[in-house]
């Protein structure tokens, strides 16, 4: 997994609340194992049924085509647990999502894939939104994960954010969750041994070997 450092980018914003993973990546893009998920991202919001670009939609505007930061609303990523939603955002180019809140499973999927999901208070969220709307042309912000701070184009602090320590460290170091767990493999071995002794049925195979 690549390491997450400071990220500087213009901010695309889609502020609707409760955007679910079916909207983020419609199931038709799940059928094909080689589908271009970046193309499928928000497909029905970006294109008409006959495939014409909806030029009003933020991701169809050329100035946001290379944006790495997406500002979202409340309860983003709810619904189906499909991780394709996170991959689609990533394949489009987003490395950081900033919102009022994220659905539990979606947020976990973000961390696991190296996307930084930042939750802001409504005050800070509003402040950030005001800043990115402050100019007719899109303005850049920087997200500094080391210092947990978001700054504007002049490096002036817009707001600070909080992220759990372990997830922060994993993103900063590009650490894989499995590697981290396998450091504690002896705990798993011990659990299995004890289970065999006390609750052997937990360990009874589905599938006789």
């Amino acid at each position: 997994m690549k390491k997450f450092n400071t990220l500087t980018s213009v901010v695309a914003s889609i502020l609707d609340n409760d955007l679910n993973t079916d909207q983020i990546i419609p199931s038709v893009y799940l059928k094909d194992v080689n589908a271009d998920l970046g193309f499928g991202l928000f497909a029905y919001l970006r294109r008409t049924p006959d495939g014409q670009s909806i030029s009003d939609f933020v991701l169809e505007k050329p100035e946001f085509a290379r944006s790495k930061i997406l500002l979202v609303g409340d309860n983003f990523g709810c619904g189906s647990s499909r991780e394709h939603a996170v991959w689609a955002l990533q394949e489009f180019g987003f490395d950081c999502l900033i919102g009022l809140s994220f659905a539990d499973l979606f947020m976990e999927n973000c961390y696991k894939n190296g996307i930084l999901p930042i939750t802001l208070s409504s005050n800070d969220h509003h402040g950030l939104y005001k800043y990115i709307c402050s100019d007719a042309v899109p303005v850049s912000i920087s997200v500094d994960l080391e210092g947990c701070v978001i700054t504007d184009a002049n490096e002036i602090e817009i707001c600070r954010f909080h992220i759990p320590q372990t997830q922060r460290m994993m993103l900063l170091e590009g650490l894989d969750d499995i590697g981290l767990t396998l450091k504690d493999e002896s705990l798993i071995n011990n659990w299995e041994k004890e289970a065999l002794h006390k609750h052997s049925f937990f360990q009874s195979p589905i599938h006789p070997l």
């Binding site: 609707d16 409760d18 909207q23 419609p26 647990s81 659905a103 372990t166 997830q167 360990q203 589905i206």
Partner: protein, 464 residues
């Protein structure tokens, strides 16, 4: 010293907690890892390239369900199905094949094959994993990376959820089922109410429910954000395992399992972070009008007017009404429909099919409606056919399909035509979920059948 009181969830959780990470999250042991093929290609490609060993193939199974074509006569295949076959062979994992006697939707197969057992932990890469919470099995939906994590470690990394008790009181009225209770609950509490919580359902309404109904209730818990849901196993649960011959023949193991099962209820003085109570005796048939599962009305009610909707929800409501082609204050009764889908892990069990088939009573599906019935598993399909339910459906004009997820997720290509209005027994009414610009109304199998027969949304109780 007396033991500190615990909830049912905590009893199972504590037994399965392998350790705690510095950040407070737990490593939780997974007794049963049940995968479906939609996640296989990505997860296994990554896993096999990592060259890590599969820790417990004997506790892992793959079920083919999401991408299986269910229309009779179609070849039962997809790229996902082929890849699931390849990896199952490579790793020696039990595979529930598309044409096997055990085939079906993963959550239903988990219950029927005894993968899910009371007091066990189960993980499945699907948000409706908690369907089997109805059997007292602590189950977690997970993502593809988490799936890979379980393959390598047989654990998940998870923050301990808060504890919520939802007490459902009173007997359900005639014509009302678990789907109505679930929809009413989501309407009452909102789509976010369960976020961060493990929910236990209890109360006289739950005790009276069949296991199939309890599965519908638990199935819908993700639709209001719950991390998982569970119901304390009672005699009905034990009867299920005995009837399906799923219990071990090893006498001492069976004895110790029964002792364990006898402890599987929340202690009377256990602490919950939040308790909700709902009187279910007042609930009448429910149906969704919008594009999230909390936008629900009783069939006797009209869609709320905008000033009756809480301000923060109003913008969503306006969007939903626009998408659904409906107006505030409108009654849904009499609204013409194009399609009916009876199926999904929410409502495709034998009880659901019996209720639907017996409502027909010689009536016909309206000529402008296309209605399909997709049993949840091959076993349910065989049972239904042995009772002649397939004949009742087919002669009334329903299509009788093979088991699979079908129009619930649409991942097998079975979707409605653009713009069609569909009454569906599945669990999600999101925009475009059942096909582009398709307008989905979630309801019980009874309400869906009634709509198919009348060609319009109606109160099923008028057909009794």
């Amino acid at each position: 010293m007396s033991k500190s009181p615990k909830t049912l969830f905590e009893k199972i959780w504590d037994l399965h907690s392998v350790g705690k990470r510095q950040d407070g999250r737990h490593l939780l042991y997974i007794d049963r890892h049940i995968i479906h093929e939609l996640h296989v290609p990505h997860a296994f490609a990554k896993f096999s390239s990592s060259a890590r060993p599969l820790r417990r193939k004997d506790l892992t199974a793959i079920v083919q369900d999401h991408t299986v074509p269910t229309r009779p006569g179609l070849e039962l295949t997809s790229e996902h199905i082929r890849q699931a076959r390849r990896y199952a062979t490579q790793y020696g994992i039990r595979l529930i094949e598309v044409d096997s006697l055990e085939h079906g939707i993963v959550h239903i197969v988990s219950a029927e094959q005894g993968f899910a057992m009371p007091g066990f932990t189960l993980a499945c890469p699907d948000s409706h994993a908690s369907t089997v919470g109805a059997l007292g099995c602590l189950s977690f939906g997970c993502g593809t990376s988490e799936l890979e994590h379980i393959l390598a470690t047989q654990t998940i990394v998870i923050e301990k959820p808060k504890q919520m008790l939802v007490r459902l009181n009173g007997a359900m009225r005639i014509g009302v089922g678990a789907k109505d209770v679930a929809l009413h609950l989501i309407r009452t509490l909102g789509v976010n109410a369960g976020r961060g919580y493990a929910v236990e359902f209890s109360g006289s309404c739950v005790s009276l429910m069949t296991l199939e109904e309890r599965m519908t209730l638990c199935n819908m818990s993700i639709e209001w954000g719950c991390r998982t849901s569970i119901i304390a196993p009672d005699q009905k649960v034990y009867d299920w395992y005995v009837a399906k011959n799923l219990l071990t023949e090893n006498a001492s193991e069976l004895q110790s399992m029964k002792e364990y099962w006898s402890e599987l209820q929340s202690d009377s003085d256990a602490t919950f972070d939040l308790v909700h109570e709902l009187d279910c005796s007042m609930i009448v048939p429910q149906i969704t009008w919008g594009t999230d599962p909390s936008q629900v009305v009783s069939i006797s009610e009209s869609i709320p007017t905008l000033d009756q909707i809480d301000t923060p929800l109003r913008v969503q409501a306006i969007k939903a009404l626009d998408y659904m082609g409906l107006s505030e204050g409108q009654s849904l009764v009499g609204l013409s429909i194009d399609r009916v889908f009876i199926g999904s892990c929410s409502n495709s069990r034998i009880d659901d099919l019996r209720a639907a088939a017996h409502l027909i009573k010689g009536r016909q599906v309206a000529s402008h409606v296309k209605a399909i019935v997709v049993p949840g598993s091959a076993s349910i399909k065989r049972q239904a056919e042995s009772e002649g339910l397939d004949d009742l459906f087919i002669s009334a004009g329903f299509e009788w399909h093979n088991p699979g997820c079908s129009m619930c997720a649409g991942a097998n290509g079975e979707v409605a035509l653009a713009g069609e209005r569909c009454v569906s027994t599945s669990n999600r009414n999101y925009e475009n979920r059942q096909g582009r610009s398709v307008k989905t109304h979630l309801a019980s199998p009874l309400m869906a059948t009634a709509a198919a027969l009348q060609g319009q949304i109606c109160d099923v109780r008028d057909l009794f």
